[in-house]
Subunit: 219 residues, 2 copies
């Protein structure tokens, strides 16, 4: 029942699953559920009970064999493990169509992990407040990141600008970047990058979905 | 120089890279570029020239050793290979914060692959036009998908509703789903699913970025 952080190295997949468990458990809690067994959680995500137990042992939480996990305590334990003890501010760069969509999506979702400042080089956007977040010029990036102690970057600029902006983020001290620009970033080994390419994903779905439909003679 | 479709099976990664090449080539064309060598394209994406040539041979296009690839022709060849000969309509389900952000992002981007109808169970959203797209009740999903010949689904509903909506999409004849709900879908083998979990990605970036910063003593 302790929530001490163990010293083991946790894989990317485990961190991803912990993030997922927490959201599913939050949903269950909102529906009035209080307890859950590892096999029930496993059924929700299509995994095994053994994997769930292993993942949750990594956060230092173990349930009771008779009542399963206490959902409220488990959510807190995962939070203690996943979240920073302080608020982690996020810098979003590129306030175009995609950037604004992402600001709208994350707006107000995670109090401890919120977009605190946005950056663009369009003078019409600078100093505007968009989805509750002030927009600055790109030349102020380093200063604002340091003044506000921002720790995470979200990159929504066109591909031609992505590498330059990534280097500015790294120079400013940012070590984690969520990259929506459709180009691989070259960053030092001490910077963690996660790529999301929504257009590529939609084009893959359209292509392979069409292949399946053709095979069935649906189209 | 032909753009005949070869009969080989193309991997998911190749389709993803073709989608990426096309966008990079479109950007170059917009900047006035006319030709590109495989090694130049390789440098842009951090790959090898041999891989670029192999990928582009799959679409039935080969460049000239002296001038490289003609960018305009290459964009057309990739389009002939990736895109449906007809327009592929997309059905988006779940017009919440995330769904609206995704509608805003894809609005007007791909004439051959556009969100044609949105679905929600909130009576205040039904019959509204959001980002140029009409919103219908979820009970009309099957009828609209069939009437409009929609081929691709985008799932933006809460996790509890995702499996049910996925099954409705499959019953309506959809064989490709882009799933933003943070839960794995159970679908028949003839349905292609691609998952995007933006919250999970941001939480991973925050976690691993923090680990790196801690190691460096930045925080």
């Amino acid at each position: 029942m302790s929530s001490q952080k163990p010293k083991v190295v946790i894989s990317e997949r485990t961190i991803g699953r912990l993030s997922l468990y927490r959201r599913l458990l939050n949903d269950l809690q909102a529906q009035g559920e209080r307890n859950i067994y590892s096999h029930e959680l496993a059924a929700m995500i299509g995994g095994t009970a053994a994997q769930i137990r292993r993942d949750l042992m990594a956060v230092g939480y173990s349930g009771s064999p008779t009542h399963g996990y206490d959902i409220r305590e488990l959510v807190l334990s995962i939070g203690n493990f996943l979240d920073a003890p302080h608020m982690q501010g996020v810098a979003l760069v590129g306030v175009g169509n995609l950037g604004r969509a992402i600001m709208a999506f994350f707006s107000g979702r995670r109090p401890r992990l919120a977009i605190a400042a946005a950056f663009d080089n369009d003078p019409y956007k600078i100093n505007r407040v968009i989805h509750g977040c002030r927009c600055y010029g790109i030349e102020d990036l380093s200063r604002i990141v340091q003044e506000q102690g921002l720790e995470v970057g979200i990159l929504c600029v066109p591909s031609q600008a992505a590498q330059d902006v990534a280097e500015r983020l790294v120079r400013a001290g940012i070590r984690g970047i969520l990259n929506f620009a459709p180009i691989p970033l070259r960053v030092p080994a001490n910077v963690y990058v996660e790529d999301i390419d929504m257009t590529m994903s939609l084009e893959k779905v359209a292509y392979f979905g069409r292949q399946h439909a053709n095979k069935e003679g649906l189209k």
